[in-house]
């Protein structure tokens, strides 16, 4: 294919929806085609991620290993679908093994090339990060939906939890010691000025234990970063529940509906008394949609959290009884 043909192809890829022609051309310039024979493994589960790929033609199977030396195919993907886009931004490991089920051509974007785009603050890097966040949020909703169904689905919004508290009613308090924040893994390598911009973009609030901050099915009103304490994200159906994530220090929650405009997919409840950074809808929109160094930090924090949430949600989840 010629460059214009690659650009035209990229324009049909759902992951890249909304990117301008100039942004697509920049991506086409640095992406490399690769062919796979039938049965060839693109990557193994647990392997360190080096690139993301877009399927040009052909098909692949996606399989996860299970306890007891077993494996299960979790998806089959074909043309215009993306693989490995989440590890591309968070630098983690591949969560499943991908194998070509027929002769397949993919277009690969390597992590070093993506990092170069980011370091140049190229608009395509910001746009791709936002699209990855949107796609990851969709997947997270699908995974949460499957988990909720396994508990016995009830009417949307009937999660059994109390309504979430609006951020205006939280008990505001002073900011934490910045030296403490800088020692969190989330912020260890972040530029000091950009971190300061992020940490001053919202207000700080203290919440007692057992406080509902977001209710499943309700309209989201804020995104939160846990500074101290812990907040659990749960799916509740009657007396059954699955904790899909525990947001401890340095982790965010409440952002899904702010990314895709839908209602909250989970209920967020403080498991410990917690000190939180509260980013209102307006602050979130400014950080998520911006192209500054602060937005760069924020998009990374959100994408890393989404990647961790997805990995956690895709693992077999324990059903917690409440007898102890």
């Amino acid at each position: 294919m010629s460059d214009p043909e690659w650009v035209a192809f990229l324009g049909t890829v759902p992951l890249l929806e909304g990117l301008s022609e100039a942004e697509l051309a920049e991506l086409a310039h640095i992406m490399r085609p690769r062919t796979l024979a039938e049965g060839e493994v693109l990557w193994h589960e647990g392997q360190h991620a080096r690139s993301m790929v877009l399927i040009v033609d052909g098909n692949v199977s996606v399989a996860k290993r299970l306890p007891g030396d077993r494996a299960v195919e979790v998806a089959g993907l074909g043309p215009r679908e993306a693989l490995g886009e989440i590890p591309l931004v968070d630098g983690g490991e591949h969560s499943a093994t991908v194998r070509a089920t027929e002769a397949t051509t993919v277009l690969a974007l390597s992590r070093p090339d993506f990092a170069a785009l980011v370091s140049r603050r190229h608009p395509s890097a910001f746009a791709l990060k936002r699209r990855v966040a949107t796609v990851a949020t969709q997947r997270l909703r699908q995974t949460f939906g499957s988990l909720a169904a396994s508990l016995g689905e009830e009417a949307c919004g009937d999660s059994g939890a109390a309504p979430g508290q609006t951020p205006e009613k939280l008990e505001l308090c002073g900011p934490p010691d910045s030296a403490y924040i800088r020692r969190m893994a989330t912020f260890r390598d972040v530029d000091a000025l950009a971190l300061w911009g992020f940490l001053t973009a919202g207000r700080y609030a203290f919440c007692p234990r057992g406080h509902v901050l977001a209710a499943e099915g309700a309209s989201p009103s804020a995104c939160y970063l846990t500074i101290n304490g812990a907040v659990e994200k749960v799916l509740i159906r009657g007396d059954r529940r699955i904790r899909v994530e525990l947001a401890g220090p340095g982790q965010t929650f409440g952002y899904e509906g702010l990314i895709d405009g839908l209602n909250s997919p989970v209920t967020a409840i403080t498991r410990e008394r917690s000190l939180l950074l509260v980013l209102t809808e307006e602050s979130f929109a400014r950080l998520f949609g911006g192209d500054t160094d602060v937005s760069h930090v924020f998009l990374d924090v959100i994408n890393r959290n989404l990647a961790a949430s997805l990995r956690q949600a895709m693992r077999p989840q324990a059903r917690l009884a409440v007898r102890a």
């Binding site: 647990g46 996860k64 306890p67 020692r183 101290n228 324990a318 102890a324």
Partner: protein, 273 residues
């Protein structure tokens, strides 16, 4: 170096093996030497074939305050008691709690505490919550006693104004029933002078794998077999490079398991104390 956490304070294990003399009594081995370089442990491991094993490698913070010696080695099991306990974690400011716990520990059990660890006090506290501290409790009673002991610890901490992160991952077993907690008091709150913050920030981990049997093949061990669940392995971290057959125990929860004639029963319970 003064604040480095080192797993160099010794090793201990209790192993229940049917067919051995007094089979309801475990084989117990404890040593302050390093397990990796212990030829006795290596030789024992070649011979033992237990149906339940509780093993612990002790770590301490480098410094002058920690006591390293035989009396502080896990698992703890008072003479005559059927329950053994190992602990991964630490109760911050434990010296401020110790004497408040005396009121909750049966006097004859308190007298048996020989070491200086918080873990041995937790052990005595759990035994004190049993109908018969020297009996072999059923799984439900052992689970309940563990939760009760954690509630006592929470109350004492509140009374003393102790409100910083203190992980309490406990492993208790009689050889037939097993309880393992993944729990922390005040997770996410740390003292201002915490020099080991990076180590303390993540929730202390606990993993398990379940299946037919755990065996070695191709140079690596893993849980294999799909003919029912007969084996359960719980560890602070996955024991293999490939972690795809390991599952993470949720935070604030307890695994309760027991051996049955057909294999094993186990369930995961939310631990809201």
């Amino acid at each position: 170096m003064m604040n480095t956490f080192l797993n160099l304070a010794g090793f201990g294990m209790a192993a229940w093996q049917p067919g051995s003399i007094r089979a309801d009594e475990p084989f117990v081995y404890r040593t302050t030497s390093l397990p990796d370089f212990d030829p006795n442990l290596n030789a024992l491991a070649q011979k033992l074939e237990p149906t339940c094993l509780l093993a612990h490698v002790r770590g301490v913070t480098h410094g002058n305050r920690e006591g390293v010696g035989p009396a502080n080695l896990h698992p703890f099991r008072f003479p005559g008691a059927k329950v053994a306990l190992a602990h991964n974690g630490h109760l911050r400011e434990f010296p401020r709690m110790r004497y408040d716990l005396v009121a909750h520990v049966a006097p004859e059990l308190a007298e048996r505490i020989q070491g200086t660890t918080d873990s041995e006090w937790i052990y005595a506290l759990v035994l004190s919550m049993l109908d018969d501290p020297y009996g072999a409790p059923e799984l439900d009673e052992l689970t309940h006693a563990t939760a009760c002991a954690l509630r006592v610890l929470r109350d004492v901490r509140e009374r003393r104004g102790i409100d910083t992160s203190s992980p309490v991952n406990l492993f208790l077993t009689t050889g037939e029933a097993l309880v393992a907690t993944r729990f922390s008091f005040d997770y996410g709150w740390y003292p201002a002078d915490n020099m080991m913050l990076e180590t303390d920030l993540p929730y202390v981990s606990l993993w398990y794998t379940v299946g037919g049997r755990y065996e070695g093949s191709d140079g690596e061990s893993r849980m294999v077999g799909d003919d029912g669940e007969h084996s359960l392995l719980i560890a602070s971290e996955p024991l293999t490079v490939d972690i795809s057959t390991w599952l993470e125990v949720p935070e604030y929860s307890v695994i309760a398991a027991r051996r049955t004639p057909d294999g094993l029963d186990y369930e995961m319970l939310d631990l809201d104390v």
